[in-house]
Amino acid sequence: MHILVVDDEKIIRDGSERILTKEGWKVETAENGEVGLGLLQRGGVQILLLDLMMPGIRGMEVLKKVRDDYPKLIVIVITGYATIDNAVEALKNGAYDFISKPFTPDQLRIVVRRAEDKLKLEHEAELLRRERERSLKDIAYEKSRTLTIINQMADGVLVTDKNGFLVLHNPAATRVFGLEKDSPLGKHIFDWTKSKELTQMVESVLSMGGSNPPQGMTQELGWGDPPNIFFMAHTAPVRNEEGEVLGSVTIFNDVTWFKKLDQMKSDFVEMVSHELRSPLSSVRQLIALITDRFVGEINEKQQELLNKVLARLDGLLLMINNLLDLSRIEAGGLIQQTEKIFLPEIIQSVIELITPEADKKNLHFEVTCDQQLCTIHADRQGMETICTNLLSNAVKYNQESGKVIINAQNRGEFVEIKIADTGVGISKVDLPRIFDKFFRIRTEYTRKVIGSGLGLPLVKAIIEAHLGTITVESESEKGTTFTVLLPRGI
């Protein structure tokens, strides 16, 4: 606290300085108004004790000057005649308080301390005011920055209130619906977008109760008639702290280009499947006519050589099939349609399919399925491909008279399938690579087995497309176990 005492009486100046300095305050003194004003100009003074009756400039004039030049300065007037008139006039002129001569040290301390309290309060109020100003500024800045980000996004954004009326959208969303002039704010989502699917998505998200998990919905939507623009729409509820749904937010990714690529890819797949498979099929059938003696006898060596040709052709055909499946999955196409699937049925039909091959090795199947095994939502062809590949591997790489153990059971939100064999196993070195495309384990044993190196990558891709996982454990010469976890789906 910095105090200035202006009084022509030395005894008052010295007395005040002594009393106030003891309190730990910094005190300066001036014997008249001119000197006082000079000291004030140097700055830092917070409280001014001012005698009203002085030679030279009168105290009241000093007070008026001070009020204009230093509005924050607190002035306490010292008045020789303790009259109400003087005090009232001083207060009218902006003094904060007055003290009349003669005064006791206590009286002085009280008056100054009160002034100090006022200063502190003013200081705090000022701090609060600044704080508030700054946070308001921050909010405004934050808001405009967020808006800038939303407006710059390449993905469309639509926000609705809890009744499905539009409260926010960005230019990318406007471009989607092609209505640039008319502001859609305040319109119902259906009135603006004319999309039943989108409206349904938004409405079902809005109707999610507080207890539902806060996840949203994702769906592919087409616009135009016939659809020529495609979007992946993700809708999620906007909730307050209590979990109450306040509205919805929808993000649109333009996937038109991917759809086009997808189409190109499936056209390519079509082409390859016909152009490569057909001639190979014909070649295979023609050679089989010779090996099956439809066109006369052949000798043993010829038979042996032609059998090798047939085996290689089968390998090629298998590779083409797997390659096509794989490329379809990578284009996101193998989950053509999901339906309710009871896995034991598929496992059983696949076992029937590979039984002839298993019988050649005298293999034995052990199947245990949970009686209450849940159905899953999945693509039927995909599930068949997974089971065929895993089971036929379990047969191909098994030992004579070995076992294939299949176990299916519920695991919370998942269904778990374990397929174990008692075969040659996979070494620790090879284990991490078995899901790589075109990777084949090179051993004396596997050289005899026809494979494309695409079976397991295909299986993994299908499982992952279903948001599941596949893991493998293996011990050389003991056997291999594949564990598949598939979400049951909604």
């Binding site: 001639p279 014909s282 295979r284 059938q285 089989a288 006519l289 499946d325 062809q381 068949e384």
Partner: protein
């Protein structure tokens, strides 16, 4: 001995089927496209038809549908030859399509000659 119409745009495949069937003393009438197959079916009234699915002018499903809608040909049993990519998806795929097109049987290419003969003989018994 039966009269069998073989429809496929690939002459080598037609030949391999022909050899398989002639060995069993069947008479084979070849057709190298969907439209030709339709015409020959109506003209020759074969005892059975082996019909490829993928043909450039008119695919096997269409041919099959038309034949089954034709009063003269609707009772001729049809074996569909498919060349859809994966082995396992083929069973479901062909099954679905085959049912829809009312084909009597179907098999994925390539098919072993012996298996083809067996399928045709089963077809003729219908």
């Amino acid at each position: 001995m039966a009269k069998i119409l073989v429809v496929d745009d690939d002459p080598d495949l037609v030949e391999s089927v022909t050899v398989s069937l002639e060995k069993k003393n069947h008479i084979v009438i070849p057709a190298y496209g969907g439209i030709e197959g339709l015409e020959k079916a109506k003209k020759e009234k074969p005892d059975a038809i082996i019909l490829d699915v993928m043909m450039p002018d008119k695919n096997g499903y269409e041919v099959c549908k038309e034949l089954k809608a034709d009063p003269v040909c609707q009772d001729i049993p049809i074996l569909l030859l498919t060349a859809v990519a994966s082995k396992i998806s083929t069973t479901t795929y062909t099954h679905r399509m085959g049912m829809e097109t009312e084909a009597d049987d179907y098999v994925d290419k390539p098919v072993e000659p012996k298996e083809l003969v067996r399928l045709v003989e089963r077809l003729l018994k219908k």
